[in-house]
Amino acid sequence: MEQALRDKIVQQISDVQKDAILMAEMNRDFFTLLVKKDSLHGVVRILKDNPDFGFSFLTTLCGLHYPEQKDELGIMMQLHNLEKNLRIRIKSFFPKNQATLPTFTDIYKSANWMERETFDFFGIQFSGHPNLKRILNVEDMIIHPLLKEYPLEDQVRLDKNDTMFGR
């Protein structure tokens, strides 16, 4: 993405929502915005609806968990302008007890299943989502398995003796 367009994106967003962007950088060849949680929905709206940007396609949306951070949970989205083949990544972090975001399904219909997946694996709530329930895991699962406090391994195996594996 050209420098001019990057500056324009940052400028336009700052015009509407001051202090929304905490950081804007090129991550290798990928333009990445770190956005305040409360501004996230508005930023995505601008990136899609403003004809200068035209990020009409939501490539991916997923959760992040960095237990060592103060704002340990986060989400990451990648948007794509299919006409000009431009891509942008947006990240936002928030503490675990404030893991509720407004839904993006009103901007991108495809966010529906991605938000369900993010809820399923990270327990992040999306207020206003039409059908926020587990999508990939069994419905009676009680944990959100990609949070780091849960071990990857199923805890029912009896044949894995730690003394034999040196753990």
């Binding site: 990939l136 895991n137 699962m141 398995p145 990857l152 199923d154 029912v156 195996r157």
Partner: protein, 183 residues
């Protein structure tokens, strides 16, 4: 050309033999018939299923043992062959397939994943199908060779041949099903 060993058809059970007749117990006769006409239901989810395809193919040819007729309806099947990783979300489906099979029925668990979860020791994978359905024979391997799958079927055949016709009504069998929450 002379055959080294005498060629025999199915192994005959113990009984009285004479010119033009053969007498044995009803259990043995039924066991003999069942054993050599098993209809397997292949429940193949991953690489063990590919090995099973080789097992059914011309080279290994499971048809030699009377199992050439695969049944894709559980209601007609005698032998449930579970081959591959069973995710926890697949568990209820597998259980329903088992429950839809008519008695008498047998289960062959093929490969490490179906038998114990295998390398997939993770929150989303069922750690062995014997957590939800009873299993008669386990075939180890990751994936097992077709010879091993055939050996598993032969062990199932041994069970079928020697099973008492009253076993499925026995209190032990009912207690075993009750452990799995079935009746």
């Amino acid at each position: 050309m002379k055959l080294e060993a005498p060629y025999t058809m199915a192994q005959t059970p113990q009984g009285m033999e004479g010119p033009g007749f053969f007498a044995t117990t009803l259990d043995q006769a039924i066991g003999l018939a069942r054993k050599n006409s098993l209809w397997p239901l292949p429940f193949a989810t991953s690489c063990c299923g590919i090995e099973f395809m080789a097992t059914m193919g011309a080279h290994y040819d499971l048809a030699r043992f009377g199992s050439e007729r695969l049944s894709f309806s559980p209601r007609q099947a005698d032998l449930l062959m579970v081959m591959g990783t069973i995710a926890k979300k697949m568990g209820p489906v597998l259980r329903q397939v088992y429950e839809q099979m008519a008695e008498p029925k047998w289960v062959l668990s093929v490969g490490a994943c179906a038998s114990s979860g295998g390398i997939f020791d993770t929150y989303s994978v069922l750690q062995g199908i014997d957590r939800i359905i009873p299993v008669d024979v386990y075939v180890p391997g990751c994936p097992p060779r077709p010879e091993q799958i055939i050996d598993g079927v032969l062990r199932i055949q041994d069970l079928v041949q020697n099973e008492s016709s009253r076993r499925r009504n026995s209190p032990e069998y009912k207690a075993m099903l009750a452990e799995y929450g079935m009746e």
